[in-house]
Every structure is written in C-alpha cells, then in structure tokens.
Assembly symmetry: C2
Homo-oligomer: 525 residues x 2
C-alpha cells in the first residue's frame, strides 16, 4: 500500500514540509513505515477557503445530485475494501472482521443519507398562502425550509476509524445537508483516513462536485483543529472523542467573532440498572450479556456500560459472582493506541486505590499497549459522596454499585451527569417500573433501553445517539440516524419570492412531489 502522506486539499495534495508523524501499530508499539505530514496554517486556511467557495455551488445542488455523490462515495469505499481491511488492524489493532463490518456500516450510512435527500421531504418545507385582502394588513406569501449552515469541520474518532471518521456519519450527514466538509484525520489512523479521503475525492470528481467540497487535513487537533475551528469560513463542527478535546474545541468555537455550533460527542458511562426480578430469573444470561457488552471492542465504545446498579441482596451477590468469573476468563486486548492504554491504567489504578471501592477482577495486561478487564464494586452511598467514581473509564471496565432502596437508586441517578444511554433490565415481577427511576433516568439520557445492553447503535430513522451534557455538547441532537442531518441546517424563509427563483422544494405545484406543510396541513400534492 502506498500513501501520498500529505493533506488532501480540494483536488490537490498538500505540502510535505514540517515534521512528519507515523501511525503506530498498537500490537507491536512500533511506528509504521509511512510518513504523514501535518497540514500547516496556510493549508488549513486554503481548505477552509475552498470549502467556502464550494458552498456557493454545493449548497444549491439538488437532493438527487447529492444522493448521487453519496452513493458514489459508498461505491468508491467498496472498491478499496481490501486496502481498508488490511490497514485498519495495523493502525488500530481492531481485527479484520471488525474493519469489514464497520466499513459495511459506513457504506450503509452513506446510502441511508442518499435515500433521505433523494426522497427530499426532510427539508421540512412549509408554505403559508398569501391573503392580499386580509384586514387590517395583507398577509404575505411565506415559504420556509431547512438550508445548509455552511462548511463543516469534522473530527474523526479513534475508536471508529471508519463509521465515525473521515467518511463517517458526520461527513455523510453534512454532505447530505449541502455542507462542504473539511475533515481532520485522527492522528492514530492517518493511513485509513487517507484511503477514505481519496475515495471521497474520486467520487467528488466523478460527480463534478466543486473543488473544496471535501478536504482532508492530517495532523492533531491542536495543530490543525484550533486554526480550522477558528476560521470564519467554518460554520459548524462535528467531533467524537474525549471530553477534554470536545470542550477545547467548544471553547474555540464560542470565542470566535461569530460563535458557531459544536456537536461534540464526549463521555458517557451508560448506567445499567438490573432489577431484582430480572436478576433472579435470568441472572446467568444477564451476566453473559453484560460481560459481552463490557468486553465488546475491548470496551472502547462510547456506549460501554461503565456503571451497573443492583439492589442489595442475594440475587445481586449471585450475579456479581457469576459476572466476575466470566470477566476473569476474558482476556482484554490491545488498545487502539498507546495513549488509551496509558489512560486506562491511570484510571483503573486510581479506582483500585480508592478506599470505598473493591476490586473484583484485575487482570494483567497482555502487552504494554494491552488493556485487560477491571471490575470494581462500590455502594450507592459511596458514589453519591464521591462523584469522581462515576467518571468514564475508556476500556473493558465497569463499576458495580449496590443500592439499599429505590429511593437511594433515584438519588444515585440524580447525581449523574448527562449520558448517551440508560438501561433497565426487568422481569414481569419488577413491573410496574418505578416512575421516579424512569424519570430520573430519562431526564439524563438520549436513549432509554429496556432489557438490552447499550452497545450496538442501530442506524435508522429513530435512533438518538446523543444526550445531555457532557455526553454531548448539544443534547438536542443525534449523531447517528437520519436525524443527524439537522445538526448542519438552519431554518430559512422566503417572503413573497415566487416562481422559479424559489428552490424546487418550495415551488408551486410541488415539482418534487414531497410532503410539505401547506397552511398547517401535511400534503404531498
């Protein structure tokens, strides 16, 4: 496999000046041979300026044209499947099977947004008819729809080198909305990023998209991200990563002369509540399920269940024993990059030393970049007194928390920050579910799961992958599913603009045949 090794700006390649960096093979801890050169400030500026120019043309493309572009990207990605599947394990230690599956998901997301914008009614077209004779003043003709915000900066995640990275959900939804994208490759997988970036650019060329509709910048968030988010041409930011990184970019965005929205998915411990009836009737299967969810992807999922609440008593003790044995048999794996292994060791060390925490499982790491399971146990009252115990540990670890009463469970839930998900495992004997528990959980999550586990985020119309701060920086939105497109649009209306000067979505006669709200009533006529 050969790489250009520079940024990809518009249809040109960037310079190869400055100090190059290398991907690191997490399994060996050694640098991979290919050098990658970070974008310098003039390249960041050029990518942003080209994106601004491209917006003039790209924002006015039809849904059908954008659908064609998104499907062409999907096809180009499929055509380099073997290169991607070979490179992902080298840069991330994720196995080939995962790379194949995640590429399928990435391609699926692009096609889903293509279908959405081709169907067209996502723009929420609204028409209110003029009443020239209305007294005391005439009513004008008003028509509104969602229009694209402008160029979007997209920051790839370390833990999803495909589905939440260069050609991932943020890029797909921004392009679907009509926004050019300047993507910042995650420094841990520059090669996978380049392969995906080249695929997007081949698709852009074949679809005659304007230069600058997509650029890929190599480098770190600090080097490249700060000047990019500060650039006036950029109008929104998509980010998936750490709380530290997300908050840093949010501050940069808020300090601009024109502040812009930041959609940062940051941290979540995804509380899981195991009720007594469920523990009694299917404790073994719950232990298997939880062990699988904690271990999936070496625990490196934003939906990893990091906090499990159980009622004090023998069913919980039996469950804890079974669950601990299962985790004891698991082996962990290699972290996505050495920084994650290092952070995992620090945070599990701190928990091991905490005097209110018992360590139930503590396995040796298989290698210096390895992470092995750590299972901790504490009580609800300890958690309430020390909120640091609820912090995210990124890796195959979870904290079991026993509570003395439903009131104490509610108190724990109310002490938690915002989360992506909340889960309740129940049995018929646990019904009806306590309303206070449901309400406390619902008010701090984006997705409420019954009798399931939080890992596994279905890509569909109704998925909400988001949640109150600090799960995300903007808890109103989702980053997965078709709803993600609305992060990159704004409401816009025309007053007394008529005929073909209007976008097709708003023209008389409904030439696109989409569902529209006409004088308050949905109509596809």
């Amino acid at each position: 496999m050969s790489f250009v090794g520079s940024s990809l700006i518009g249809y040109s390649t960037g310079s190869k000046t400055g100090t190059p960096f290398h991907g690191i093979n997490p399994v060996t801890g050694l640098e991979l041979p290919e050098p990658f050169y970070p974008a310098d400030v003039t390249e960041v500026e050029r990518a942003a300026t080209l994106a601004k120019r491209a917006f003039r043309v790209y924002s006015r493309t039809s849904g059908a044209e954008r659908a064609g572009f998104l499907r062409a990207i999907a096809q180009e990605l499929e055509s380099v499947r073997s290169e991607i599947v070979a490179r992902v394990p080298l840069e991330t230690a994720l196995p080939e099977g995962r790379a194949n599956g995640e590429l399928g998901r990435t391609i699926g997301q692009l096609k889903m947004f293509a279908d959405l914008v081709e169907a067209g009614h996502w723009v929420d077209a609204r028409l209110d008819t003029a009443q020239p004779d209305r007294a005391p003043v005439s009513k004008p003709d008003i028509r509104s729809m969602q229009i694209p915000l402008g160029p979007v900066a997209v920051f790839g995640a370390s833990n999803f080198p495909l589905a939440f990275s260069v050609a991932g959900g943020d890029t797909a939804s921004a392009l679907a909305a009509g926004c050019p994208v300047v993507s910042v490759a995650h420094f841990a997988h520059p090669g996978v990023s380049e392969i995906a970036g080249q695929a997007i650019l081949r698709a852009a060329k074949s679809c005659n998209m304007p230069k600058g509709v997509f650029s890929l910048l190599q480098g770190t968030g600090q080097q490249v991200g700060v000047p990019l988010v500060s650039n006036p041409a950029i109008k929104a930011v998509g980010f998936t990563g750490s709380r530290f990184g997300g908050m840093a970019l949010s501050k940069v965005a808020a300090a601009r002369k024109e502040p812009i929205p930041v959609y940062a998915e940051m941290s979540s411990v995804n509380p899981v509540i195991l009720l007594e009836g469920a523990l009694g009737s299917r404790g073994e299967s719950l232990a298997n399920g939880l062990a699988g969810s904690v271990s999936l992807g070496v625990g490196q999922f934003c939906t990893n269940p990091g906090l499990v609440m159980l009622p004090e008593g023998s069913p919980s003790e039996a469950f804890i024993s079974t669950f601990s044995s299962k985790m004891d048999e698991s082996k962990g794996g290699t972290a996505l990059h050495p920084g994650i292994a290092h952070a995992y060791r620090s945070s599990t060390d701190a928990k091991q030393k905490h005097d209110k925490v018992a360590t139930l499982v503590a396995l040796d790491s298989p290698s210096p970049t390895g992470v092995a399971p750590f299972i901790f146990r504490t009580t609800a009252s300890a958690l309430i007194n020390d909120p640091s115990l609820t912090g995210e540990v990124f890796g195959p670890s979870t904290m079991l928390v026993t509570y003395a009463s439903t009131e104490e469970l509610v108190e724990v839930l109310e002490s938690l920050e915002g989360q992506l998900t909340g889960t309740i495992q129940y049995d018929a004997s646990d019904l009806p579910l306590n309303e206070d528990v449901l309400l406390a959980l619902q008010s701090r999550v984006g997705r409420l799961i019954l009798n399931g586990f939080p890992t596994g985020v279905e890509v569909c119309h109704s998925m909400v992958h988001g949640g109150p701060f600090p799960a995300t920086s903007d808890g109103r939105s989702t980053s997965v599913g078709t709803g993600a497109i609305y992060r990159f649009t704004r409401s816009f209306c025309y007053q007394d603009m008529l005929g073909e000067a209007l976008p097709a979505e708003l023209q008389d006669g409904n030439p696109l045949g989409i569902w529209r709200t006409v004088d308050g009533q949905l109509s596809n006529l």
Copy 2:
C-alpha cells in the same frame, strides 16, 4: 388598578423586601406610583426549584391538556384586556391601539401553539420496526420523538410588552413543548408583566397545572437574570433584547457546569436593497413604504430597516430627496424608556460627527424621552472601511448607502454580520436578480423579502424570525411561528420499550392518529 408588586412564585406571592423600583411613564419622565419589589436570590432559587418539580408532572401532560392550558391563558388575557390596554401606554408610551393589536397577536400565538400541540404530529414521532431474526445481529424496536428540555427562563423584551414578554412567544412555545417557565419581567413594564403573569397563573390553577409551571420574577437581568440562568434547574433560555444583554446571559449559560442553550434575539439592521428599475418605476411608493417602515413603532422594532442600499445615479438621488422630505414631515415619538432615548441620542450623535456620513434629516426630539427621525447617507466604500457604520441604531433612523457597482454591493453585503432579514425591491427590468447578491444576502439572514419591507412579522408555520449571529445567538432556529417550539425540545428514543409504558405518540395502533415516520415512510395509521 392595583398591583401585588412582588414576584409571583408558583401559586404564592414573593416578599416585599429590598429596595422597590417603579415603572417610569416615558411621556412625563416621572415614576409611576406603584412600587415593585425585585426577587431576591432565595426567591429565584425557589422559582427554579418549583419549576423543576413541576416539570416532573407537566412534561408528561398530553397535547390536549397543554392545549387547554394555553387556551385558558388566552382567555384570561382577553378578560383583562381593558387593564392591559390602560397600563401599556403608561409604562411604554405605546398607544392604546398598539396595545390592543399586540394583545390580539399574543392571544393568537397562544391559540396557534394550542392547535399545534392538540394536533400532535409536531413531536416528529419515528418508529423503526424490530427484526428479531436479522443476521448477524437482531434489530431492536426503536421509537423516537421530541421531548421537553426542562424549565425555561424567559426574558421579556422592552419593545413588545405583550407579544415578546411574559405571556409572549417564548412562554407560549416553551409551555407548548412541555417546559415550565420562569419569566423575568422587563424592568420597564413591571405592571403589564404582573397583569399577564396573574392571567397565566389563573389559567394554570383552573387547569390544575402543578405549582411552579409558571413563575414571574420582578427585577433586572443583572439582579435576577444571572442567578436564574446559573441555576441548575434551568435548562434553556429565551431572550429578546440588546446584544449586550444577550451576550451576557450567553456567557453565564456557557460557564455553567452543565452549559445550556440560549436563544437570544439581539441586533439587526435588516439591509434593504433598492434596485434601479424599482427606483425608476415606483420611487414615490418606495419612499412612502420605507418611511412607514422606518417610523413604525417609533422605529423600535428588531426588523427596522437600518441600512438601505441604492445604486449611484439619478433614480437614487430622486428617491433620497423624496424619502428625506417624507421623514422631515414625520415627528418621531416617545421612546419606550429613557434608556432607549439616551442610547438613540448617543448613536445618532456619533453618526452626525462621522466625516464620511452626511446627515439628511435631523429633527429635534419632541421631549427629553422623545426620539425624532435621523436619516444619514454614506457610500459603500466608507461602510466597507468602517464596519461601525453598520451598527444597529434602535429608533426611527436609517442609513442610506450608495454603491458604484453590483460588485461593490456584494462586497458591502459580505462585510455585514448576521441579520434577521434581508430585502430586495426590484422591478421587471431588474430581472434576473444577480445571483451573487442573492447568495450574499441569503447567507447572512433568516428571512429574505422580495418587494416588501422587513417590519411586520407574520405569525405562521413558515415564519423564520431568527438569523445568523449576532441577529440571534442561535441562527438555526426561529422565535416566531410554530417552528419556535423546537428550541425547547430534544430528540429522545426508546429501545424495546413497548405497550402503554410508551408515550401515546409512539404506541402501537397510533392512538392519537398523528402523522408518524414508520420505517422511513410518513403514515397517519
């Protein structure tokens, strides 16, 4: 008319301690007799805590119940029409006719949101069907909808004591969304605020709404607003007022442990472009229309046309002469409060002294709190060199700007900050409209108006009263029309929750008969 004079917190009245303040009659400049006592920090805390408790119940009311509440508020406001219409002129110098009209608009807004939530499909219900047998993993049942954010702090505007104040659009849309409201009365019209607040509370009682679903705090933004927006119970902010005030609250909201969204409508000069053909064929009527729009409400509208661009040449000179004579004949009026009159004098003084600005009309103020028309003239090149010339002057003033070429017009537009509206007046001979002009204007406004004037904001489904920063702090949204409800909601999904535990909007069989997106297709079955 007698007033309680304290804050209204839940169903109780606040204390009458601290230093009282008085409304000021802008016409006389004298204090009105009734004392009003600002809320102290414990009262702010109590209102926020009650709102949080009320949210538990109110967030789960049905659309029909909320509709009943909103209509009851409308009815209670109607029942105190005479008191409102008597008090508005005393506190704001706005005439009785305006008070009557604005009350009608306020009542209309409440009824519009009642209709919206009763119809119910605004929640954007989405259902994706489970596929238990899907390989390699089963697909869960996912259902999503918009749910309320939580208690909302609403800050009333000085220039709309009814429609953008205590019972105005922010309150109506937040209550419609399922959010309790803590309203901060504008210090300039505490009496009108109390009348409206009492009406809302009578309606809340008659509809058996929980204590704290609405509270009214008296006091200033500094005294009351800062602790309120800092309170963890508050989950969003609606504000209409100055850029200074909106930015101050935005900073407080962003600095919280849990940052929250702020919807602040701040400043806008609403650029108007008069094209040559239109000036030639109907210059007289344009001069009349513009004079009316500049003078409406003594120029104290957020959509006041503060920047008018005309091509150099004789049609523009003729227009400027006609328009100036018309403004010379107008008399101005009394400002809403002495602070506005003072700020108007400062900013018109500065423009008069500017060496690139000609003063075409400068009338003496009719009284110390009066504001009289000021019409200024400059060139596009002066404006591009000194962006301060584009700042908002709140009052009956506008800046006429001549441009040498379409390129220069585009350059002026691109130098402007975000605006609520942009207007083009054209004639058949001006067609086709220049695409660069259209694009430059569209990219910095929320509403594009053809052959009209920006004052007059129709309350309807398609209205967008919003725009890029600094017109608003969140240019994705609207504060007028049914779309305003989405400022106070977030996306939420249930995974494998079934039966009656789900909200009615998401239940099998569609008991509410609303439009929903089922596996990607709209259906009302």
